[in-house]
Structures are given as C-alpha cells and as structure tokens.
Amino acid sequence: VTVLAVLLSVPDLLIILLITTLVTLVVSKIPLRHLRFFIGFSAFIIIGTTASQAMFSGAALEPSARVIFWVIPQDFPFFGSITGGVPFTLEGAVYGFIQGFRIIAMLATSAMLVATTPFERLIAGLRELGLPATIMFMVTTAVRFAPTILEEFRMVVNALQTRGIAGNPIRMMEYAMAPLVLNSVRRCNQLALAADSRGFCCGRPRTSFTVEKMETTDYAALISISVFTGTLITLQACWGWFA
C-alpha cells in the first residue's frame, strides 16, 4: 500500500486505494472506539494537508490559481517581499485534500496491522524475512521494554508531583528524564547479566516459541498483491489509465 500510495499520482486511483484500505480496515473488525479515533485523526490530517497545500503547493503557486484570500498579502512589510505573498488558493486546497488520501491509506493499512496481528507474530514474521538474530533480539527487547519505560515514567512523574515539582514542562523533562534513563540502564545491566548467564551470543542457532512459516495462501496473497500493484503502476506509467 505504501508503494502504491507513493507511486500513484492520479486522483481516481488514490481514491480507489483509499476505499480499498478503508473497506479492509472495517472488515478486520477493529473496536468502534479505535475506529472513531482513526476517523478523527484522519480528519485532522485532511485539514492539515488541505490548509498547508492551499498555501504552499505548486498548484497554489500557479498564476492561474484562484485566490480565496491572502494569508500574507504581497504588500505586507518584510514577509510580503520575501515570499511574494502567500495566497490561500482553491486549486492548492483541492490538491492538498487529495494528497491527504495517500497518508490515510497508509495509516489505514497500519491500523489494520496493529489491530489484527500480535507483536510476537509480527516479530516472528520479520525473522522469517531474514533479519539477523541480534537485530531481532534487540527489536523484541525494545518492544518488551516500551511498556516498562512508560510505567517507569509514570512513577517518576508521580514522585515529582508528590514533591510539588510538576507543572513546568521544561523542568519536568529535565527532572524526569535523568531518573528514567538511569533506572532503565540499571535494569539493562541486570538483564545483560541474566542474558550472559544463559549463553547469549554463544553462536548457536536460536529457537523461538512462536514459529511463522510461509504457507500456500501467503504465497498466493503475495503474488496476487504484487501482480495487482504491478498492473496499476504499469497502466499509469505506460498508458495513462484513469488520467
């Protein structure tokens, strides 16, 4: 989806891609609460891309673009002369609105991945793709560490709040980061000792509780998606289909 989202430039094809990913997302039965968050977040992105591209995109800077209003007028002191005026144009807004579909298509695919695939299966899949064992160990440990770090951070913030230090975000960052990092590094030392005592890096092949194997359906899905992607890209590149 990312490859298609990057390569497709025709609005019709981008809309088809978006609809396909959204249908897949809905079919994957993610909780309604998450779906509502996704819709809100997508709306935020659409507003962001539309607003920024209405001012800054190539379509907005075309001489034929229809100006709705001027964000920075041409005769505005200093900034007007540097920028040549920043207009909010209709063509730019439409361009930005359509470009938002790219980002949402990628987001929908990722949301579906998170909602349907447990972390250990994702990591096992990465290992099957041939990533080195040390990197996989690091990725696994990092994923395992993420909630621990959040918990540690919450404890540090609670400790700061009980001492009446919380409030200023910059001071909070300074006072919270040091104990967070130092406590985590102490924990890392203990974990390293445990790993060494269990023969980590001894050169023997490692085994895993979760085993992922490519099956016939996986190969079939991989081939069909590749053919579909290749066809769309070829049609767009060679014949300008949907243009």
């Binding site: 507003i47 962001g48 470009q99 991945l113 990725v139 440990t141 590094v185 890392c188």
Partner: protein, 218 residues
C-alpha cells in the same frame, strides 16, 4: 655447541618470518592485541550494550508513536510540529544512546529499532529511511570525531549535521513522497530553526548519556 645454538636461532628467526609473512601471525614476544586495545568507538558491542540500545530503542518507539500521532500537526504547522516531534524528542533519545554506549554503529541500530517498529505501526513507513540516514550520519560523526565527539562542541557539530539533514530529508524525501510540497522560503528558515532544536537535544543527550555510562560501568 656453537652450531647447535646457531641452528636454533636461525630456526626461530625463519619460523617467525614465515609466521609473519605466510600466516599473518604476531611475532613471538609481541604483546597480543585485544578488543580493549582498540579505540572505544571501534570496539564490539557487549551484551549490556545491545540491551542498552534496545532500551533506548524502546524509548524511540514511544517517541516515534507520539511523533506520528501528532504528525498531522506538522502538516498544519510546518514550523513547529517537525522540530519538536522529529528533532527534539528523538534527538534526546539518539544522543543519550550514543553517549551511553560510545561505539560506532549504536546510532544506526537505535534508529533502526525505533523506526522499524514505530513507523510502520503508525502509518509512516517513509520515515524509516529518514531515521536511518540520521543514524548513519551520527555514526559517521562518531568515527570522524573520535573521542572529541563526547565534548559539548563535538556533539553540537554532530547536532548541526543531524538537524540539517533531518529537515532536508523531511521536506525533500518524506513529505515529497507523501505528495506534499513546500517552497524554498519555508525550507530555508526551517534549517536553522531545526538546528536550534537539535543542539539542546544533543547536549541534554550527552549529559544523560555520560551519567548513564557511569551507572553502566558501575
């Protein structure tokens, strides 16, 4: 007796030369080189290094997810979103990690771990090369600056490179591939602004990393 001693000496000398030339062996009597004799930044990763990098990778995942949740804001506010979400917070984590481990390769590894999990999960796989390039550059700076890297001026120089490349990658790679365009008068002022955010990130990272490496050394 003389000939016996002479024979033994010639035998030893010839064996030493053959050993040096053919096998690349170290001549007898030469102190053996170990990992500890290499400069710190060229040493191999120990188990605790690997786990410390993973821990910073975990912090990078959290920061990456936070950054991407607020990614829409960087489209709406190009002057604020990008600097805090993609430079300040990830910068503190990256520079803390490399200042703790102090070995070449640590920056690439922490960037790889952070981006490999956080970015695809949050719908921004285009950020993987963005983070990787920043990690590779930081490693290049470790090799280039050697021990000078761990001084405030050295780490600030690395932060300038980090900030400049970060903003160029953001505007000309990530956003361009997402179809978003920004004119030169947005990109150019963003570079010094991004550096202004990158240097404190690097200095905070150095301070945290120095304390963390002392804890790691016991």
């Amino acid at each position: 007796m003389f000939f016996v001693i002479l024979h033994k000496q010639i035998y030893i000398i010839i064996n030493k030369r053959i050993g040096e030339i053919v096998n690349g062996e170290v001549p007898i009597g030469t102190p053996r080189k170990t990992q500890a004799d290499n400069p710190t930044f060229m040493q191999r990763f120990t188990t605790s290094d690997i786990i410390v990098i993973s821990m910073f990778g975990a912090a990078g995942i959290v920061a990456g997810i936070l950054g991407n949740v607020l990614h829409g804001a960087s489209g709406l506010m190009p002057f604020i979103g990008a600097f805090i979400l993609h430079t300040l917070i990830p910068g503190i984590i990256l520079f803390s990690c490399i200042s703790t481990v102090r070995k070449a390769g640590s920056a690439t590894l922490v960037s790889l771990i952070s981006s490999l999990i956080a970015m695809p999960l949050m719908g921004a796989p285009l950020f993987i090369p963005f983070y990787l390039v920043q990690g590779l550059l930081a490693d290049g700076m470790i090799v280039g600056l050697k021990e000078r890297m761990w001084t405030p001026s050295g780490i600030s120089l690395a932060a300038i490179v980090y900030g400049t490349v970060g903003i160029l990658m953001l505007y000309y790679f990530v956003l361009r591939l997402q179809g978003l365009e920004f004119p030169l008068y947005v990109v150019l002022p963003s570079i010094p602004l991004n550096i202004v955010f990158a240097i404190p990130a690097a200095l905070i990272g150095l301070k945290l990393g120095t304390r963390a490496s002392a804890v790691l050394a016991g």
